[in-house]
Subunit: 313 residues, 2 copies
Amino acid sequence: MTHRLLILSRHADSYRHHIEAAALPDLEIMSAADPDALPEVARRCDLVFGEPSLIAKALPRMPNVRWVQATWAGVEPLLNPALRHDYLLTNARGVFGVLMTEYVFGYMLAHERRMFEKYESQKQQRWDTRPPGSLRGKTIGLLGVGTIGATLARTAKHFGMSVRGFTRASRECVDVDAYYHGSDRLSFAAGLDYVVSIVPNTAGTRRLIDRDFLAALPATAVILNPGRGSVIDHDALADALSAGRLAAAILDVFDAEPLPPEHPLWRTPNVLVTSHTAALSIPADIAPLFIDNYRRLVRGEPLKYRVDFNLEY
Amino acid sequence: MTHRLLILSRHADSYRHHIEAAALPDLEIMSAADPDALPEVARRCDLVFGEPSLIAKALPRMPNVRWVQATWAGVEPLLNPALRHDYLLTNARGVFGVLMTEYVFGYMLAHERRMFEKYESQKQQRWDTRPPGSLRGKTIGLLGVGTIGATLARTAKHFGMSVRGFTRASRECVDVDAYYHGSDRLSFAAGLDYVVSIVPNTAGTRRLIDRDFLAALPATAVILNPGRGSVIDHDALADALSAGRLAAAILDVFDAEPLPPEHPLWRTPNVLVTSHTAALSIPADIAPLFIDNYRRLVRGEPLKYRVDFNLEY
C-alpha cells in the first residue's frame, strides 16, 4: 500500500528535502508550514511528521491519521484530552543529548568562571582578579535520567563531578553515583551544587522544584532548567533568589512562552533567561528519526520512541 | 644536613600550613609575603618556594640559594639576564590542566551559545530565539601541546571536535588528530574554528599570532589566550577584530598587566578580558609539587619540572 505523509513544520522545506533524499518506498509526500491553510488532499494522509503544536491544530481535520512522528521531545499539545488519541505517537529522542550537554556545562562553567561579572567589570575597564571556582569535586543532581541525563552524567564525570539521579524507578546509568526516587526528593536536594531538570511535563513531575525542594538546597546551589517549565514553582524560585537563598537559576522554559515582557523573572536577581533555545530541533538530526521509523513501519516492525498517552511521555 | 626554606608568596601562610603538615625531614621553614622586608636570616636559605616575581626581587640578597621551586608555570621574571642562573629552577606543571580546560571550554561554549548576546537581550526583556551553535564537528588548534594541551585535547574529543596541535617537535598526544611544526604555522591556522595558545613565553613563541597568522584564520575563528601575552601581536589582533576579519578573542594575558584602563583592547569589539585568572595557582594544588620535589632532593633524586634557562621553559 501507498502511505501519504503530511510534513507540517516551520521547517517543512528542509524536512521534505531530507526525506525525499532518502527515497523511501511507497510514500507520497506533501508539506505545509501553516495548519490553517492545509490543502484538501491533506485530509487523506495517514502519516504526519512535524511540530506537535501545529499537528494539534490539524488533527481534527485529518481523519485517516494512524502515525504521528513529532519533531520535538515534548508532545504536550497532542496530550490535550479534547484531541483524538487513537493513533501511534512517536517523539524525538536520542538526538538532544549533545546540545543539552553543551547548554548545561556551558552555563555551569559560566557560573564557576564568573563570566557575567567579568563581562560587567570589562565595561568599566576594571582588571577583575576575583578567583573563579571549578566544577571538579562539585555535585550535580539530575532530575530525570533518560538518554539526555546519561549524556549529562558522562560529561559530569569527565569534569570530575559527583552525580546524583532522581528517577521514577530506573537505575541504569553507570555514570550516576547515587539514585533517589519518590519520597527521597529532599535528600536528593540536600548538598547539591547544581540541579538540572530534564524530566518531561507529566502529572508526576509538575512542581517537583517547589518551596520545600528549594529550602532543601544549599544557598550556593544553581538550578538549570532546559526541560519543561512546569517542573518549577516559579514564584517560590523568585522568592528564594530574591532572598539570597539560592545562587542562580538558568531558565530555558516557562509556563507560558515567550515569557511576557512584564514577567518578574526577567529581572529577578541571578536569573538567566535563554528563551527555549537549549536544544532546538535541527532537521538534519530529526529527519533520520522519521526515516528510520518509516522503514520500520513498512517492514511491520515496532516503531522507536513511542509515546504512552497515559504516562504522558 | 638541614635545609633552610624561604616561602616567598602572597599566600605564604597557606603554603606554610601545607608544607608544615607534610612534616618534611631536616627542614627549617621561614616565610614572607614581601621581598623588600625579608628577615636577615633569610640570607642563609638554600631553598626558595614562591612567586617568580617576588623571588626575582629577593634573589640578589640570597647568596646561598641552590633550588627555587616556582608556584607558577611561567618563570619569566627569573629569566632576566641580569639575575643569577646558578641554581636549580623548577616550575609548576601538571596542575593547571583542569582549570585551563574549564576556562577554554567555558568560553568556547559561551561563544557557541551566544551567552553574552542573550544576556544583553534579557536586559531588554527580549525573548531571543537566535539559534546557538555547537562544538561538535568544529576544529580546535592548540598552540603548544604539553600537559595542559593534552588535557584540552582530551576534552575537545569528548565534545566531538577535531584537534590540531602546533608544537616545536613533539607528537605524543593521542588526542591530537594532526600535528604541525615550524613553517606549517599558516596551514595550521587555515580552517580553524578555535585557536588556543598555551605556549610559554620564549624567543620561539613571541608573536606566533601575527598579522600573517590572523590573515590565515577564517573570519569565523575565535582566539583564546590563557597562556602568555607575548604570543599575540595585539595591534594586529585589534585591527582584525575591528575589521570583522575575526569573530572574537578571549584574552587572559597581556604584554603589561594589569591591562591599563586606557588600553584599546578593553573596548575592541568582541574582545573578552579575563584579567589573568584562567588558571590561578591554588596552594592546595601547588604545595604538593614542592613537597614531592623536596623528598626527591633529600633522596638525591632528580627533581621534577626542571626549567632549562636556555630554552626559557
